[in-house]
Symmetry: none
Subunit: 217 residues, 4 copies
C-alpha cells in the first residue's frame, strides 16, 4: 500500500489540521508522469523531470510517493478500476478466457506494453514496489482467471480439482514471457493458441483421468 493510498483512505475520517493536500498538484504529477512515460520512455521518467513538468516541487512528490514507479502504478490501477471490473460470462470456459486474453494481449502489444515492461523491471530492483505491484495489478489479473475457472467448474466444464493457480500461470506466464523477451508476437494467433492450450489442459486433466479410470476397469 502506497503512502498515497494511506493518506487517501484516512482523509475521509480524519480531517487533519494544516493545509490539506493539493488535488491539483496530485493530478499534475500523475499526468506529467504518464506524459513523460508515453513520450520519452521509462528511462526518462525521473522525479526531477516530473516535478519540472508538473510545476511542482520535488518535496511534494516525495511526500506522497516513494518513487516514480509508484506514481505510474497509481495511474494504472486507477485506469484499470475505471474500465475493468467486468468479466462477462460468455457461457463457456473458452469464451470467457478469450474475452480475457484477447484484450490483454492487444493492449500489451500496443501502448500498454512498454509501461508494463518498465514496471516489472522496476519491481525486480525495488522490493517495496514489487510488493505493491504484485498485490494490486498482478493480483487483480490472477483473480479474474480464478473467477473464470470457478464458473467453468460450476458449469461442469472442468473438474473441481483443476488447479486455478497453475492455470493463471499458464495464461499470464507465456504472455509475460513474450512481452519481456520479445521472441514472439503478441497477436490474435498467440491469444487463441494460449487459450486453446489452457482449455485443453484443464479439460484433458479430466478426460485423461477418465480414460485412465476406464482403462483401469
Amino acid at each position: 500500500m502506497t503512502n498515497a493510498d494511506f493518506a487517501e483512505s484516512n482523509s475521509v475520517q480524519k480531517p487533519r489540521a494544516g493545509r490539506p493536500r493539493s488535488a491539483e498538484s496530485r493530478r499534475a504529477i500523475i499526468q506529467s508522469a504518464m506524459h513523460i512515460l508515453q513520450n520519452d520512455g521509462y528511462a526518462a521518467l525521473n522525479i526531477e523531470a516530473i516535478a519540472a513538468k508538473a510545476g511542482v516541487s520535488k518535496q511534494t512528490i516525495y511526500r506522497w510517493w516513494p518513487s516514480a514507479a509508484f506514481i505510474v502504478l497509481e495511474a494504472l490501477t486507477a485506469d484499470m478500476q475505471s474500465q475493468d471490473g467486468l468479466t462477462p460470462d460468455m457461457g463457456s470456459l473458452k469464451g470467457d478466457l478469450l474475452e480475457l486474453v484477447r484484450p490483454t494481449v492487444r493492449a500489451l502489444a500496443a501502448k500498454r506494453g512498454p509501461v508494463f515492461k518498465a514496471l516489472i523491471a522496476e519491481a525486480q530492483a525495488d522490493p517495496r514496489f514489487a510488493e505493491s505491484f504484485r498485490t494490486s495489478l498482478m493480483a487483480a489479473h490472477r483473480e479474474t482467471v480464478r473467477a473464470i475457472i470457478g464458473r467453468a467448474q460450476l458449469r461442469g466444464e472442468v473438474p473441481f480439482d483443476a488447479d486455478a493457480e497453475l492455470a493463471a500461470d499458464f495464461i499470464y506466464g507465456p504472455i509475460l514471457y513474450r512481452l519481456l523477451n520479445g521472441h514472439g508476437a503478441l497477436d490474435e494467433t498467440f491469444a487463441y493458441g494460449l487459450v486453446d492450450a489452457t482449455v485443453l489442459t484443464l479439460k484433458a486433466h479430466d478426460q485423461l483421468a477418465q480414460r485412465a479410470a476406464e482403462a483401469a476397469e
Copy 2:
C-alpha cells in the same frame, strides 16, 4: 553479440597490430562483477565498483562491454556453455522435460534467481542488451525445448504438428512469471505441475483430435 564476443571470435584468425587485449584484465573484470553481484546485489553492480575491485581502469571496461549487464551475460553464457550442452535422452517426453525443468527451477529458486531477474529487468531498459540477452541465453533455453519435442515426435509421443514454440512459452513463461512476480514458489511441485500440464497439452492435442475423428464416424 557483444564487442567482446566479436573481438574474441576474430582473435583467432587475425593477430592485429598493437598491444593485445589483456586476458588477465578480462578475467579480473568478469570475476569482480560476479563477486559484487553475488555479495551486494545487482543494484551495487556499477562500472566504478567493478573497475576498482578488478584493479582495472573504467576505460578498459567500456572498451569491451557497453554496460555491466553485458559482463554478467558473458559470464553466464560462458558458465552455461561449460556445464550444459547436454540434454540427455530420458526415453520419454515427460522424463526429458523433467530433466530440463527441475534443475532450471531449482537454480532459479537458489542463487541464479536474482541474477536472472536483474538481467531481464536490464533488458527492458536497454534494447541493445535485450537483443544480446534474447539471442544468447534465452534462445539456448528455447532450443533445448525444441530438441526435446523433436525427440518426442520421433518417438511418436506427440503429433508432428505440435507447436514447439508455444510449448517453450508454456515451459518458460510460467517459470519467468513466478520468478519475476513472486506470487508462487519455484519448487518441485511447481516443476511437476508444469511438466504434466505441458505433456498433457501436447498429447491431448493428439488424443482429442483422435476422439473428435472417432465421434465423427
Copy 3:
C-alpha cells in the same frame, strides 16, 4: 563578474525563494582552494580536490563558479579590497610610484607570484576568465597608476598630456615580463629602476618638449 558576485550583490534586495546559499560552504570552498594552491601549486588545484577538502559536492562548486580559477580570483579580489583601497599621497610622483611598485614587486617575488602567474596563464586559455581577470584585478591596478599620475599632474610634476595608459603599461609590463619569463629578479633595485625610468619618461616628455621650444627660438 562571477556568478557568485552577481548573487551576492543581489542578495540584499531580493531574498529569493528556496534554500539560501550556504555561506559556510562558500567559505570552505574558497579556503580549501587557497590552501591547495599555497601547498601543492596551481597544477594540483582541481575541482574534485577542492570539493573533497571543503567537504562539499562538486555540483555546489559548479553552481557558483565556472572553474577553479574564478574561485582564486574571488579570494584574491576580496583580499585586495580588504587591504588596499589606499594609495597614500607621498607628496611626489616618485614617492607615490615607489609606494605602489615596491610592495607589488615584493609580493610577487614572494608567495603572490605563483598565484598570479597561474591566473595569467589560465586567462590565456579561458576567454571568460580573461575578461573577469582583466576587469577586476588588472583594472584596479591600472586605475591606481592613473590616480597617481592625476595627482602628479595637479602638482605640476608632469604635463597634462602625459599618457597615463602608457605609463601603466610601463609600470606593470616589465613587472609581468620578469614574473612570467624569469630572466631577472623582482627586487628593490628593479623597483627603483622601474620607477626612475617611468618618472624620467613622464617628466622628460615635458622637459624635452620645453628644450625643443627653447631651441626653436
Copy 4:
C-alpha cells in the same frame, strides 16, 4: 634543451645503431601540430590529436618531445631563425628600435599572438618548458635589444652606463602585458609610443644627469 635538440646535435657525430629517426614523421608531427594550433587553438593541441593527424604513433612523439609545447617551440624557433637573424642598422637608436618593435607588434597582433600567449601560459605550468622557452625565443629577443643599444652607445646616442637589461624589459614588458591582458591594442601608435618612451628614457638618463650636474655647479 629538448630531447629533439639533443638527438639532433648528437646525430652528426655518432650514427647510432638501429633504424634512424624518420625525418618524414618529424615533419608530419610538427606540421600537424601547427595546423591544429592555427585551426583549433592551443586548447585542442594534445598529443593524441597530433599523432592521429600526423599518422604517427604517440610513442614516436614522446620519444622526441616532452610535450606538445616543445613541438610548437621547435617550429617557432626554426621559423624565426630562417627569417630573422637580421637587425639592420637604420642609423639611429629610434630607427633601429622601430625596425624591431613594429614587426614584432604587428606579428603578435596577427596570428603569432595566440601561439605566443599559449606558450607563455604553458611555461607557467611547466618549469622545463619555461627554461627552454626563456633560453631560446625570449633570449634571442632580448639579445637583439642589447645589440641595438650597443650600437647606439657607439654612436654616442646613449651613455655607456645605459641599462640595456632594463631597456629590454621596457620594450617587451608592455608588449607582453598588452598581449596577455588585452587591455589595449597592439598597433602602430602603441609601437611608436613604446619606442619614443624608451628612447626618451635612455637619452633623458644622460641629459637629466647633465642638467643635474649643471645645476650642481
